[in-house]
Structure formats: structure tokens, C-alpha cells
Symmetry: C2
Subunit: 282 residues, 2 copies
């Protein structure tokens, strides 16, 4: 864990002198990494051994080791943390914040994914007779993106963002078909019903959703993507991006499973677009 956050968190548990050190460190960490223990002690008006004890309390080997941790926190501490956009942020500030929280959430999502489930999903997808991707709202976009990827594999792919079409399609599914249902909340009634219908008709249902939700319960395989959605703006942001990254993972797994000959085919699909584009000069 980031040592600066750790200091902040444990501030309450420190003794009076330790708190003095903590305050000096928090107020100008960049100075501290270039100070000796003597300089820091003087700055905080306490003795050198106190600084040393402070370092050990934070589970470091001593002062030099502490400085190392601090240096690392400063190097990547600020980025990739969920920072909230503020009313008075400049364009540069909110741009950075949004990109950084997106990255932080991708990191979170990656950690929450279970490789076994991914592997099983890829198994199932490669052997499917027909693939269907269903989502609504922001997840409809993810479903479309999945269609855009998987149709290149020369497999029948269906994608609907209309609940009636989804239902009819689910009812028409059969053994060997795979239905991927995408919903961040996992609570959208009509999508949960679609999952149930598909399952009742013997399709394999993969859910891209949060674990322990009504939707998750209806799925054969759950790919749970945890993100801490910033609800300040009441719009899905991180969740759909993490879902898209997961689609990339599934598509990649698919191509790897199919082997190298198969990949030549993908190149053909891409090359087919060439005439629709302006040439590059370089």
C-alpha cells in the first residue's frame, strides 16, 4: 500500500512526537526523501531515534528503507488513484483525473477477474454454434462492440438492445448456443429475465456483471468485473470501459484457442477495409 496513505490512515494511532514527524513528512514528502534522519528530526523538533521508531512502526526496516517506500509512493502515488473531479478543476485537471480513475478502475477490475472463469468462457465461446450479446444502456454499447469483434471470427453473432428482440432470441436459443448478458448493476429486471429464458432453453449463459447480483445467480458462468464507479456524475464511466477490456480479453482468448491459421483470416477481414480508406503517404 502507498505509504503516504498509510501515514494518513494511522495518524490517529501515533504518539505526540510521531505525529510531529508524520506532519512534516505529509507536508513536504519531496523534501524528506532528500533529507537525512538528523535533518528530519530537527525539522520535526524531535530526536533521531523517534524518527527511526516511526519508520519501523510503518513496517519498514529503518529510515533508509522508509525513504525508499516514500520515494515509490511519490513516483506512482498520485496517479492511478480514484480522484474526484472538483467544481473548479481546469480542463487539464479533470482530464487527468478521469484518465487516472479509469486506469485505477481497470487495475481493480483486472484483480477481480477470475482466470478460471475466463478460461471456461473461452472454452464455451469457441465451441458455440451461435453467440448472442445482450445489454441495455451503456452495456448495449459493450454488446455491440463484442459483436463487432466476434463476427470477424466467422461465427454467427447476434446482438440486440431491444428487450423484445432479446426475449424472442433467448426463447429461440438451444443447447450449444452461448448467450452473453452484460449489466454492471446486475439488477436490470428485463435482462435478468432474458438470462433465465436463455438458461431454460439450455443455452450457456455468461454474465458480465457484478458478483452476487440477481443476474449473476442466473448465469452458468459469471465474469465479475469490480469497479468503484464514480457516482458523482450519475453516468456509467469506468464500468463500461472495464467491460470492453474484458471483451478484448475474451476475443484474444478466442483467437489464441483457434491457433495461428485462424489469425490469417482476421487479417483478411481487416484488409477488406483498405479500399474504403485514404492511403498513407509514409
Amino acid at each position: 500500500m502507498n505509504i503516504l496513505e498509510k501515514i494518513t490512515n494511522e495518524l490517529e494511532t501515533f504518539s505526540k512526537s510521531e505525529r510531529k514527524v508524520a506532519e512534516v513528512i505529509l507536508s513536504s514528502p519531496n523534501t524528506v526523501i532528500h533529507s537525512s534522519i538528523a535533518a528530519l528530526a530537527k525539522q520535526a523538533n524531535i530526536s533521531e531515534p523517534t524518527v527511526n521508531r516511526f519508520c519501523r512502526r510503518l513496517d519498514t526496516k529503518g529510515y533508509p528503507d522508509f525513504k525508499l517506500h516514500l520515494a515509490q509512493s511519490l513516483a506512482n502515488g498520485t496517479p492511478y488513484v480514484n480522484r474526484h473531479v472538483d467544481e473548479n478543476d481546469t480542463a487539464e485537471e479533470y482530464t487527468s483525473k478521469i484518465f487516472e480513475s479509469t486506469m485505477a478502475n481497470l487495475e481493480l477490475a483486472r484483480k477481480s477477474l477470475d482466470p478460471t472463469s475466463i478460461n471456461r468462457s473461452v472454452d464455451v465461446l469457441t465451441q458455440a454454434n451461435k453467440l448472442s450479446f445482450f445489454g441495455l444502456g451503456a452495456s448495449a454499447i459493450v454488446a455491440r462492440d463484442a459483436q463487432n469483434k466476434f463476427f470477424r471470427f466467422n461465427v454467427p453473432v447476434i446482438c440486440f438492445d431491444d428487450i423484445l428482440m432479446q426475449r424472442m432470441s433467448a426463447i429461440n436459443s438451444r443447447q450449444g448456443d452461448v448467450v452473453v448478458v452484460i449489466s454492471h448493476t446486475g439488477r436490470t429486471k428485463s435482462l435478468v429475465e432474458v438470462a433465465t429464458l436463455a438458461k431454460e432453453n439450455d443455452a450457456t449463459v455468461i454474465g458480465i456483471t457484478t458478483k452476487d447480483t440477481p443476474l449473476a445467480k442466473e448465469c452458468s458462468i459469471v465474469l465479475s468485473v469490480d469497479v468503484s464507479e464514480d457516482t458523482d456524475l450519475y453516468m456509467p464511466m469506468a464500468s463500461r470501459i472495464a467491460q470492453l477490456a474484458l471483451i478484448d480479453v475474451l476475443a484474444t482468448g478466442f483467437t489464441l484457442r483457434r491457433g495461428s491459421k485462424f489469425r490469417d483470416n482476421l487479417k483478411k477481414v481487416k484488409d477488406s477495409l483498405r479500399s474504403s480508406r485514404f492511403d498513407r503517404k509514409d
Copy 2:
């Protein structure tokens, strides 16, 4: 600059003994940051002063300072690097690689974005009479996502992924309208034409594309998103995710510009979905 890269770059200019140190450091930097100068000297089979001179050669104050730099390089250097998927990767490996390159590319994209252009785009978007988002293929998904976000702002938003509809819509545009054209390559003929048509009809054209492309030349404002797309799989991956993050940035800029009262309205839009969902138990 990252000190590990610096060592690699200057490897040629080092003396025989210095190179020995460099090799030890490069082969296991994580061990080095926890070693004393004596331990490192022994490991490299050279003397302590040589290590010290090596450190100073790299513009650090001495060995401890060098370790600090090294620690910082390790903190933000290794992760989020574009690593390529390998034929024999396990599910866990390719999942990590894809998430990490996505993150690395978001970082790249963030750096390439120009805050001034973002600011101007937000200006233009908040003052628009009508917004249109056009894209094809993977970018069509980004356009749809933008529609999904901006329609919540109670502004007329159009989105087409049909080239004829796009053309007709562009021809019908007028001063005060904003047309956002999305294309990673910036070379898709029909989209460049749409941009030209919109411009000829006095709409403000914002291009989400790569700089110095035919599309970029037709735009009033260019939001250039640089990513190093992994072409191994012949599918758009990082580019569309970076574009989506940019849509988030624009939408956020929009809400910030409109002020806090406006945000209550967004909450209402979100709340309107409540009845379509299963309740949470917690």
C-alpha cells in the same frame, strides 16, 4: 527520465567496471534497492568507490540518492507497459497483458491530449443547438456511447452509423450545430466527406482522431488521441477505449460548465431507471 532507461542508453559509454555494475542493476533492480553499496560492489566484483562513481556519472548525488531514483523508476516503470500477447499465454497472463496495455495506452492518450482543445470543445458543445456524433465500425460504438451520455443533458443529440444518414444529416447542419466525427485512422473516406459536408454547412466539426490525417485537416477542432494500437490481432482495442475516456472527459467538462443545478437534473435521469431494477437488499 527513468534511470533504468538511462543506464541502458548509456551502457556503451561506461567503462568495463561500470558496465559490470550496470548489468547487476539491470538484471535485478529490485534487489539493488535493498542492498548497501558494499553488497552491490561485491555482487558486481568491483570496489565500492567504483559504484559510487557510477552513481555520480548518472547525475545523482551518490549511492543513496541513486537508490531513490531507482526505486522511483521501479515504481512507475514496470507496470502499464505494452506487452504483447504470446501464443502460449495462460488466461491469467493474457488477461494481465491486455489490461496493462490498455492502461499504458490510456496513459499515452492522456499525455497526447491538448487541454486547450478540450476546453474549446467543451465551450462549443455547451453552446451547441444540436449535437451529432458520427463513427463507423468500432468508432460507431464510441459515437453511440457519446449519444448515451449527452442526451442526458437535455440537448438534441443525433447519432448515426449509416453513411447515408450521416451525409444527409451533415448536409442539414447549420451554424451553431456541432458535429463530432470519430475515426482512429482518420482515413475513412466517407467520414472525411461527412466532415467536409458539415463544415461547408457552417457546423463546427470536432474530430476525435489521430493528428495530421485527412480527417484532422477537415476539422475545426482536433482532439488527437495517440495510442500504439497492438495490430497483432487486427482489431481495434486500445483506440476505442481511449476515445471513450475522452467522451467521459467531454461529458464531465460539459456538466462542470453548466454548474451544480444542472447536475440535479442528471440525478433525475438516473433515478428514472430505478423501477426497472431489482432492489438492493443492503
